[in-house]
């Protein structure tokens, strides 16, 4: 993890508390930062993205909106253009369809269309991901869609410390940043969680620069490139395989835009074997981009065909067994690693 100042005291926080801590510190630091969205006030955010902020900063800075995503995301854009630093929450990434125009044709393009004369320093937060039977309209990741459309940075934290450090960086960034938090990384009390969702988080100011991947686990036999919740699954599998003599390196991309292609190439250059794990849809997305990054530089780096573990181009099914059959979980990750390490 990159910490820009001298290492500090740490304590264990859930990802959601770490994310809120960053927002809180930045709202303290900069009065132009505010948080807008549905149920972000008294409720504290459906996925605890704003717990305690209303009590701390009041309804002038922590603002519940009507269910009018186009209007309030656009409002964030206009406020950012005038120099505020709004954080706007889209409750679920799945709801992008009602407001994508403001996001991709306005938030993301104004800086370019204005020849760099207008900046849009805003953060668009959204919950993503499945695993708890919320069905086809409430379980999608969709980060590949945002990453495909130019003009917005896309960050996808996996760990509590990164959730804090990337949020701080996102708020301070002069560009629009889409901050996608998987519900499964938040450490919510009412959802099954990976123990890794509770971890050490630096106190005080903590900035993780956007665009640098993290080697979540060093290994020599195979590279697993992944992001968000899948990082936890990949680390679980890596630990399980270590005794079998398979040494897995896990790369946490941390952001899709910018994409740290260097980190991918360095690791694959070392292992010669690549597995990409992504909870977004398989085709025309993240897993293809990562594989193509290697094949576009030197296909010879791959001693075995790259394996892609993603949602196989199917809407997320409701029934638990069906959903778990399409999610990129431990079993599928392990099979993919065995496939690329088979002799």
């Amino acid at each position: 993890m990159t910490i820009m100042e001298a290492p500090q005291a740490t304590r264990r926080l859930t990802t959601s508390k770490a994310m809120v801590e960053a927002i809180e510190q930045e709202m303290e630091r900069d009065p132009s930062v505010l948080y807008l969205g549905e149920d972000v006030g008294a409720y504290g955010g459906i996925f605890s993205s704003t717990t305690g902020l209303l009590e701390r900063f009041g309804p002038q800075r922590v603002i519940d909106t009507p269910i009018s995503e186009t209007a309030f995301i656009g409002l964030g854009i206009g406020a950012a253009v005038e120099g505020m630093r709004p954080i706007v929450e889209l409750m679920f990434a799945d709801f992008m369809g009602v407001c994508l125009d403001q996001i991709y044709n306005h938030m993301a393009k104004i800086h370019f269309e204005s020849g760099g004369n207008v900046q849009v320093p805003m953060v668009l937060t959204m919950a993503a991901g499945g695993g708890y039977s919320d069905g086809a309209q409430h379980s999608q990741c969709l980060w590949g869609t945002f990453a495909h459309l130019p003009g917005m940075k896309v960050v996808v934290p996996s760990s509590p410390a990164d959730a804090k450090g990337l949020m701080t960086a996102a708020i301070r960034d002069d560009n629009p940043v889409v901050y996608v938090f998987h519900k499964g990384v938040m450490g919510l009390p009412w959802m099954a969680k990976n123990p890794r969702t509770l971890d050490e988080v630096p106190e005080g100011e903590h900035v993780v620069p956007i665009g640098k991947a993290r080697v979540a686990r060093e290994g020599s036999d195979v590279t697993v490139v992944t992001l968000s919740l899948s990082v936890h699954h990949a680390l679980d599998v890596a630990e399980r395989l270590a005794p079998q003599g398979i040494d897995v390196e896990v790369i946490d991309l941390r952001s899709l835009v910018p994409l740290d292609r260097e980190a991918i190439l360095t690791s694959v250059g070392k292992t010669g074997r690549l597995v990409v794990v992504d909870e977004d849809y398989l085709s025309y997305g993240v897993s293809g981009e990562v594989v193509a990054t290697v094949a576009g530089v030197d296909p010879g780096l791959l001693v075995m065909p790259a394996q892609r573990v993603a949602v196989p181009d199917v809407p997320i099914p409701y029934a638990h067994d069906l959903e778990y059959a399409v999610l990129p979980r431990h079993d599928r990750i392990e099979r993919a690693i065995h496939a690329v390490t088979a002799r």
Binding site: I67, G97, A192, P317, Y318, A319, D321
Partner: protein, 348 residues
């Protein structure tokens, strides 16, 4: 009350319902309205029980026989009973994330609906959809989990009915929070413009999750918004099932007669949390909720009117319980989908 706050040259004046304004329905109709409400409530109580039966230790939303988000409709039965009483299964209904009462009142098969909620192969969607995605071609019922986005498909169903020269109609239901979504506006304008046979129904339960209507809606009554489309708009107060029945009767008749869409807003009551697990700490009037339960109130009224007595009430409750228990048993007894089929059914 919104009486004459929105008179229009191009449309009948939106009104608020006056108690006693409409004639009382026939006793048989009144008993049926009551029975439908009881069936809806009995169903939601059963789902509530089954949903929480195995979420522990603690509460894990993804656990149990009925995993995922669960939006129950207790308190909103007057809307479903009063509106759907005017429909046949040839008419279409599009509902929201909170669809059970409307599905039941419209006649969706309880067993297959319950099997879907339990994620079984025998479910309406073979377990692929879940409780926010109930699709029943037999009754032209559907719902969507995206706010207000159930309106546009209803227009298309009404369009198809109109083009075929039938008098079938579509009823599109949404919550008061949804009335601030763009799809609401586009849909009402297009339906009015093409005189589509649609009845738009807004269930105003005062809350959009934790956001009170005053914090979301710039006007006191969404019925006023009918003005923006030159169509009739009516707000029904007091969660009164007979007022809903009367208002919906007019709107449905108008649609069947080819006179175009109407907008109804019904002031109803969300008795439970937005979804199960919602502690409702944001809700000041929580203590008053139980006393406003529309079912005992209506039962009392019908007993006074001699429409119901102990025996009839017991019979109605027993029928409801039996149907619901059968449905739950059918669901529990049905097979779960084969994981190897998870990637099927994307394309026809």
């Amino acid at each position: 009350m919104t009486t004459d706050t929105s008179r229009s040259a191009t449309a009948p004046a939106p009104r608020a319902s006056q108690p006693g304004e409409q004639l009382r329905p026939e006793p048989a109709v009144r008993a049926q309205l009551y029975e439908t409400m009881v069936l809806c409530r009995t169903y939601e109580e059963a789902i509530l029980r089954e949903y929480h039966a195995d979420k522990g230790p603690g509460f894990d939303i993804g656990k149990g026989l009925v995993p995922g988000e669960m939006h129950l409709s207790a308190g909103q039965e007057p809307v479903a009973a009063g509106v759907c009483a005017h429909l046949t299964t040839d008419d279409a209904v599009t509902a929201t994330h909170r669809p059970h009462h409307l599905a039941i009142a419209h006649g969706v098969d309880l067993g297959r609906m319950t099997a879907e909620i339990f994620g079984r192969e025998t479910g309406l969607g073979r377990g692929r959809g879940g409780h926010m995605h109930l699709f029943d071609p037999a009754t032209h019922f559907s719902c969507s989990g995206i706010i207000a986005e159930g309106f546009p498909p209803a227009l298309g169903q009404a369009f198809a009915f109109q083009r075929r020269g039938t008098d079938r109609i579509a009823v599109a239901v949404t919550g008061e929070g949804a009335a601030n979504q763009g799809a609401f506006h586009e849909s009402l304008n297009l339906a009015a413009l093409w005189r589509l046979p649609v009845v738009f129904v807004v269930e105003d339960n005062d809350w959009a999750i934790s956001v009170p209507r005053a914090a979301s809606t710039a006007v006191p009554s969404n019925a006023d918004r009918a003005m923006a489309y030159g169509i009739p708009g009516l707000r029904v107060e007091d969660n009164d099932v007979e007022a809903v029945y009367a208002a919906a009767g007019e709107a449905v008749a108008r649609a069947r007669a080819g006179e175009g869409p109407s907008l109804l807003e019904i002031h109803t009551l969300r008795m439970w949390g937005h979804f199960e697990g919602d502690a409702q700490g944001y809700r000041p009037e929580l203590a008053d909720v139980p006393a406003n339960d529309p079912i005992p109130r209506y039962e009392h009224e019908l007993r006074d009117a001699g429409v119901l007595d102990d025996a009839r009430v017991a019979a109605i409750r027993d029928r409801a319980t039996a149907r619901v228990e059968d449905a739950v048993a059918f669901a529990k007894g049905s097979p779960t989908p084969d994981p190897s089929s998870a990637t099927d059914l994307v394309f026809a």
